[in-house]
Amino acid sequence: MAYPSELKYTEEHEWVKVDGDTVTVGITSYAAEELGDIVFVDMPGAGATVAKGDTFGTIESVKTVADLFAPVSGEIVAVNEALEDTPETVGEDPYGAGWIIKIKMSDPADLDALLSSEDYAAKL
């Protein structure tokens, strides 16, 4: 399975797309496949602050509930509200329409700890 090389990754199977001081976060195609059919994504509202490594939400598939972790510290500036009605988008288009939140980073150095696509693939 190939992972987009322009993204960064976490060991918790999330991807991070950097755009200036803001990052977009979603789950990888590996995680989506492993979770099975996704039926619910529980996210905080925009404006909440998160610390790197904290749980910011949960994702539920027909078989499990798993935590979502903040890959960086900062303020949540957007959440993908479309997932309320169509959570299955996370599984169908994990790197596109299935994005979950956008975070305005408080410390860009948090990015240093993230994995490249090769390093992420090597860990699976």
Binding site: G36, K63, T64, V65, P87
Partner: protein, 278 residues
């Protein structure tokens, strides 16, 4: 690599070979859900503190019968007023999935660190690995041949309408004779997991339909039971022994009878009202 020993081929070699066995017997709905969650929280705390991780197999029953809802399931999915009038409590599970009416069943819970599997495993794979032990036990002890459902939802919008867990077998639910006999769900938090599952001992379709969907709803066709699958009555104790046999034989683990530790009891007490859905 194929096993050279004469024992059963193991689905995996658990990294922890001695597990705690809790035969909790019958408890109320809030007690059962608070108990499973307390064990999970203790496991998470142990891993975070760097203590040796423990694995627990808990076997239990529900008295009086109760309804459990999946973690994200809407409380309005069931008629709580009607259930309350009938003395049926509604509780929330820490795991996903749909509603279950728990009556005359064996429920199992396995709690432990994800490192138990010895490698990184996805949700569905961990279901398969743990279910292999359960299915082997059911067959060896009770003669019930069940298999894992392979059903995967078609592409496109997911049908989120089923209210009841047993309305439809999901991937990796155990099915015998086309009917679901083990309905399982899992939660992963931090480096730990909790998987629990409901195994109906005898037919309860009418009660389950009435409790979850209403008397006039269509029958829950895919709800099975061990008694139907075995063609004879199966008591809780016998089903419990089947699971114990499955885990010890198939995974080669040593189950040591134990009890909740004081910290788990304390957490359980504190969660009793939290897990109850009003």
């Amino acid at each position: 690599m194929a096993s050279l020993s004469s024992g059963p081929v193991r689905p995996f070699e658990p990294t922890i070979a001695s597990w705690r066995l809790l035969r909790s017997g019958a408890m109320t709905g809030p007690e059962n859900m608070a108990c499973d969650q307390a064990i999970l929280e203790a496991a998470i705390a142990a891993v975070a503190e760097g203590s040796p991780p423990e694995v627990t197999l808990r076997l239990y029953a529900w008295e009086p019968p109760a309804v459990s809802l999946g973690y994200h399931q809407k409380a309005e999915d069931v008629d709580r007023d009607r259930l309350r009038r009938r003395g049926i409590e509604v509780v929330r599970r820490p795991t996903g999935g749909r509603a279950i009416f728990h009556a005359r069943e064996l429920t199992y819970a396995v709690v432990g660190p994800l490192s138990l599997f010895g490698r990184r495993v996805g949700v569905l794979e961990s279901y398969r690995l743990l279910s292999a032990a359960i299915l082997a036990g059911l067959e060896e002890r009770l003669g019930v041949r069940a298999e894992l459902s392979r059903g995967k939802a078609p592409k496109g919008p997911i049908d989120r309408s089923p209210v009841a867990c047993f309305q439809r077998p999901a991937q990796c639910d155990a099915v015998a004779g086309g009917k679901k006999v083990v309905g399982s769900a899992q939660v992963r938090r931090g480096e730990c997991f909790l998987q629990h599952g409901s195994i109906p001992l005898e037919p309860r379709e009418m009660e389950e339909r009435e409790a979850l969907l209403g008397r006039d709803a269509p029958a829950i066709d895919s709800l099975g039971s061990l008694a139907e699958a075995a063609g004879r009555p199966i008591h809780w104790q016998e089903a419990a022994e089947a699971l114990i046999l499955g885990f010890t034989h198939t995974l080669g683990v040593n189950l040591v009878e134990g009890e909740l530790c004081p910290r788990e009891r304390e957490v359980m007490e504190s969660l009793l009202t939290k897990v109850t859905v009003r």
